[in-house]
């Protein structure tokens, strides 16, 4: 059988960098084809070419045996290619129907009723539960992603591209997504699936292609390979995850949170009477299903949103009422859960983004003006030190690949040498090699005395890095344990709210 899609010798250059170098890829009808590769290997670029966002310098796209020209996403959609981007592209203030009309409607007049109907039709067909009338900003990440998928499927789609769909999902939501993918496959839709998580790829893929340095280096059926082999093809070496353990004496409470209560406009009592503390040389892992008050807690700790009541003590000093600026001046680091909305300006240069916390310091400025030369060389240093794939500090941040954006944010926060660090999903979207090195850095930081709060939806990450673990459920810390004492199953139960 001929493949439904054949990408032949696709090449694209950005200045001196060849992001795709003679890439070839075949996708069969009804299969899930995983595309694997390090951060910056060119996966998103290749998918953007297929979807018409980027134009290749050379190469062919052959769909159903015919060469096609795709100039813009609209052409791709007309040919039955749909895409869910690495970063969501929904308008938060609009409803689900409005968002879908915005993306798909070609006629001058809109038809809400018909669109809603079609949404419901797709919902029931593929088990994509969403309320068409809901406003997007009130939806969870998993729900937003379903909206994106419906958007992509809206004009009957033959090939669905999912660019790192699971990076922002909880394991439960990922399971749901896999069900949807299987149903799509059964209905004859092919899926191009990008992920850095080996276990997911081994679970969902039928075939796998590995990109390295912009070239397609290897392809196989899943049945003929294993996780180890995949990792080796991807990075060119074996990956070993260090696990935690250290014997330092933890005698100082670096951070103490007492009876914290937080409400937001959308959610009353998002954090309820929360108390915990973190000591020096300690990684305190917070496990919990996303949306149980973790992000509200972090924002309230940093005074990004107001606290209803409670107390926050940092190194013996009450910082409950300090401003965000004052808090950050105390060498506190923050790897935010949502980098694009909390940590960086993607339209700025890299060197501007890496200056966010130091442009006020004497080292990088004199009286009123910032020493941009110094900032520039500082960003080059970070890029080098943390192995970020970038042409240099003078590149615009948004031209970095998703994983490299994350690496840069992590680099910026770790390089502050913080005494206290909040790390929310620090390895989100980064490849296994970089995950390994970020984890190493976190442990190194801890061993130098730093107190770290680690928030992650991946239990495996929490278990292997934490010295102590707290489980958050509905805004409360319902259990506290250590990785040695508790099993993954037990923590899973706590996360579901079952106290025992």
């Amino acid at each position: 059988m001929d493949p439904i899609l054949r990408l032949k010798n696709i090449t694209i250059k950005f200045g001196a960098l060849t992001a795709n170098d003679n890439v070839c890829l075949d996708i069969n009808k009804g299969e899930t084809h995983a595309i694997l590769g390090e951060n910056g290997a060119g996966k998103s670029t290749l998918m953007n070419i297929l979807y018409g966002v980027l134009k290749p310098d050379s190469g062919q796209i052959i769909l159903d045996g015919q060469e096609v020209n795709i100039h813009r996403p609209r052409d791709a959609r007309a040919l039955g290619v749909g895409m869910v981007h690495q970063h969501f592209m929904l308008v938060p203030a609009l409803t689900v129907v409005e968002n879908i009309i915005l993306a798909t409607c070609q006629t001058p007049l809109i038809n809400m009723k018909k669109t809603s109907q079609r949404i419901r039709e797709l919902s029931t067909k593929f088990g994509l539960e969403v309320d068409p009338a809901a406003v997007v900003k009130d939806l969870s990440v998993g729900q937003q992603q379903r909206v994106e998928i419906i958007k992509a499927l809206y004009d009957s789609c033959k090939i669905l591209i999912l660019d790192e769909p699971t990076a922002v999902l909880t394991p439960q939501e990922a399971k749901e997504l896999f069900k949807i993918i299987r149903q799509l496959n059964a209905a004859g839709t092919s899926v191009a699936f990008i992920s850095h998580k080996m276990n997911e790829i081994m679970e969902i893929a039928d075939r796998i292609t590995v990109l390295r340095g912009g070239k397609s280096v290897w392809s196989a059926r899943k049945a003929d390979t294993n996780e180890k082999e995949l990792a080796r093809h991807m990075v060119g070496r074996d990956i070993v995850f260090t696990s935690s353990e250290n014997g330092a004496i933890r005698d100082k409470k670096i951070l103490e949170v007492k009876n914290l209560c937080v409400s937001t406009a959308y959610k009353k009592n998002a954090v309820k009477d929360l108390s915990f503390s973190v000591c020096n040389n300690e990684i305190y892992g917070i496990a919990g299903v996303d949306g149980n008050g973790q992000s509200e807690m972090v924002k309230a700790l940093l005074s990004i949103i107001p606290k209803d009541s409670g107390q926050v003590i940092f190194c013996g000093k009450d910082i409950t009422h300090d401003s965000t600026k004052e808090i950050f001046s105390k060498t506190i680091g923050h790897i935010p859960e949502d980098r694009l909305n909390m940590g960086v300006i993607s339209r700025f240069f890299i060197f501007e983004n890496t200056s966010f916390y130091n442009y006020r310091t004497d080292e990088f400025s004199s009286r009123n003006s910032i020493d941009w030369k110094k900032e520039h060389s500082y960003s080059d240093k970070l890029i080098q030190k943390f192995n970020v794939k970038a042409s240099g500090g003078k590149a615009v941040f948004s031209t970095l690949s998703g994983g490299n954006q994350q690496k840069l944010v992590v680099a910026r926060e770790l390089d502050k040498k913080p005494r206290f660090l909040i790390a929310a999903h620090p390895t989100r979207g980064v490849d296994i090699g970089a995950t390994e090195s970020i984890r190493k850095h976190l442990i190194q930081q801890r061993d130098q005395g730093c107190a770290i709060i680690l928030i992650s939806t991946e239990l495996e990450e929490i278990m292997s890095l934490s010295d102590r673990i707290g489980v958050m459920y509905e805004g409360k810390m319902i259990a506290e344990t250590t990785p040695k004492e508790a099993s993954i199953e037990q923590i899973g139960l706590w996360m579901a709210g079952k106290e025992s």
Binding site: T324, S329, N341, M342, G343, I345, F356, N368, S369
Partner: protein, 343 residues
Amino acid sequence: MIRSKLIQYFLYPFIAIMIALLIGALIILSGGNNPLEAYRLMLEGSIGTSQTLAETIVKTASLIIAGASYAFAYRCGMLNIGIEGQMLAGAIFSTWIGVNLTFLPGLLHLFIAVIGGILAGALLGCFIAFLKNRFGANEVITTVMMNYVMLFIVEYLVTGPMREAPEFPQSARVLPSAGFPVLIPGTRVNIGIVLALLLIVLYGYYWKNSKKGFEMRIVGENPTVANSIGINVKQNRMLAFAISGSLGGLVGSLEILGIQKRLLQNFSAGYGFDGIAVALLGKNSPIGIMLSSFLFGAMKTGGNMVQMFSSVPSSVVMIIQAIIILLMAIQVFSKKTKELERA
């Protein structure tokens, strides 16, 4: 990189200007006039003689400051449509000080009169920012409303409390001690142009190098990010609008103390709105604002000449300006959408 910048900053505006002139020519032609002749008159009437060039420079000065005013708020993520109102506020204060504080000696009188105008504009700007910070009021709406309010206040003042003689709706003349010193004798070119150039240099430095300017840019790009990294969004907005407003007020002072010498009902030449156009055409860059101010200043003076010496109405100039703005605005739009897709 450098090439794309060149294209962005010079080629597009140039094309926009050319297309606008072409359409303008067609309109002149359809009115039964010779467009080449009209444009020749316009050129002669704006930079052809030292007298007309002087007039152009006078207008350029006000336009530069008005353009900087709009661009300043814009870079902090806000739209100041109220420069016209801030200008009127500045004009009122400068006139009052210029007329009434007769005991002040020479330059001090001028200085206080200018400061008064600047403060009036700043105050109005702060008020707008306060409404935005406190109640989330959209600044476009509040500034447009304030323009009307100020217009009526001026009307009230010149027909009532500040009226000099009962027969004319105008204030008394400001004292010579409060006038802007003339730079080139025999023309109306005063030190306003020096001030404007100084300010635009400062403007460039502020946004390129200063800490505060960097903070404001972050607020302008994404207030949520600014808030999350410890930048006080409300404070920055307040400051940005205060500065934007004070520049608006300064245009008013300059107009009264440098040109009109008294408050009139319709003394404004629309610099408040031209400032928006100038900033747009100049892409908020200091050099861009300077060049486009000169262009718009020349068109303003040239337009008068065309009206005087041919049967082409000066409103043709307004049409040309409007087309330039339209073309530039469309371009800004198309660039944004492209970036969205790219993200």
